[in-house]
């Protein structure tokens, strides 16, 4: 057996998986493409284990480990996808953009602070007491109320749309 054959087939499978990861929109299809890439790696491992005649069979044993890890990855990944679907009612990757950078960082940050801070304070001021230690963890700020706004203004653009959704929902509930 020429080793070129399995190597070329696994290279083609890997690039098909790359295309699937980049081009698909559904999260489950992206997971399937990741599985294709893992299988390409497995084919390479098996082929080179056969070629090198490894006495310890490290290639095939690593293939078994990769298969098991892929199964665990699919389990956790699907649990994450289902939690996402429960909270957002969608699994489209194009609509999940809360972690993206905003287009203009500074106006978005001030706007988010202005929208978010009143909604945070209105329902229950006693609930805010556990919050400042967390802010100090992320931003290294002392937990005084004056500096809290500054810390929020720094951290707000990352979770921008979600905060707006939350505050709107809490405002409408009572």
């Amino acid at each position: 057996m020429h080793i070129v054959y399995p190597a070329v087939i696994s290279a083609l499978l890997f690039s098909v998986g790359v295309y699937g990861v980049l081009a698909r929109r559904n999260t489950i299809l992206v997971l399937m493409s990741v599985e294709l890439m893992l299988n390409a790696v497995n084919l390479n491992l098996v082929a080179f284990d056969v070629w090198l005649r490894d006495r310890l069979h490290s290639g095939q044993v690593l293939t078994l480990f990769v298969i098991v890890i892929a199964a665990a990855e699919v389990g956790v990944g699907l649990a994450i996808v289902l939690a996402l679907y429960r909270n957002r009612r969608t699994v489209d990757l194009d609509q999940l953009r809360e972690l993206a950078e905003p287009a203009q960082p500074l106006p978005a940050a001030t706007e988010a602070t202005g929208q978010w801070a009143p909604g945070d304070r209105s329902p229950d001021p006693g609930k805010l007491t556990p919050a400042p230690p967390n802010v100090t963890e992320s931003g290294d700020r002392p937990p005084t109320p004056g500096s809290r706004n500054v810390a929020m203004g720094e951290a707000a653009p990352s979770g921008n749309g979600r905060e707006d959704q939350r505050s709107a929902k809490r405002g409408g509930k009572p």
């Binding site: 080793i3 299809l29 294709l36 299988n39 556990p130 951290a155």
Partner: protein, 212 residues
């Protein structure tokens, strides 16, 4: 291993079978990433994994082939189908399975394929090995797993347990959030990976009550 390389023009029967299996695997993988029906993608994935198991069989890795059939075809694809069902994906033909950057993705994939195939052909043109059966049987692999690779094996079992517990915790909705998860907003701003699962469990009841 560079001596007496047989010609590429007279392939043996094993190579012909392997190439046919590989063509089936790559073709069905292409259908997985291009089909317009979500369930058909999972079923083409079965075909691709089955053909790859055939490739492993030709490469004398029998145990890996059967593990591939059992775990990938038997478990992973079934999990995928469950995921498709539970997210209430459209069963029929749906037009929006591809995102907008399809052309860029095709370009990147073609470039990856070109680079990898060129390098691999250039590097392993003279690599040849005769296939001798029995090297990948269950007894050989079991002996090496339980003698040399025992420590990774045990670590892997712990990892599987952790993944199991993680999947259960992620999918349950009735776990009450702890005291730091109760005020939902400030842990979100830090976008740390710690705050996320607790935040989901804390926010889902309010989501439900808001929906009804």
């Amino acid at each position: 291993m560079t001596e007496e390389v047989p010609s590429y023009l007279s392939p043996t029967g094993q190579e012909v079978v392997f190439l046919l299996m590989g063509a089936v695997a790559v073709g069905s993988a292409l259908l997985v990433v291009t089909t317009r029906q979500l369930v058909h993608a999972a079923l083409w994935l079965v075909v691709s994994f089955g053909a790859l198991a055939g490739c492993y069989l030709v490469l004398t890795a029998e145990f890996v082939a059967w593990v591939q059939v059992l775990i990938y075809v038997g478990a992973v694809v079934v999990l995928m189908l469950f995921g498709i069902m539970l997210t209430r994906a459209p069963i029929g033909r749906s037009a929006d399975l591809d995102s907008g950057n399809r052309v860029v993705a095709a370009g990147v994939a073609l470039a990856t394929a070109a680079i990898l195939v060129t390098v691999v052909i250039d590097g392993f043109r003279t690599a040849y090995t005769p296939l001798t059966p029995g090297a990948g049987s269950a007894s050989e692999l079991g002996a090496s797993v339980f003698s040399t690779w025992v420590l990774p094996f045990e670590a892997l079992s712990v990892l599987l347990l952790a993944a199991l517990i993680g999947a259960i915790v992620l999918s349950r909705t009735d776990i009450p959030g702890g005291p730091p998860a109760d005020p939902p907003d400030p842990p979100d701003t830090s976008t740390s990976s710690q705050g996320d699962p607790a935040d989901q469990s804390g926010s889902s009841p309010s989501d439900r009550s808001g929906g009804h």
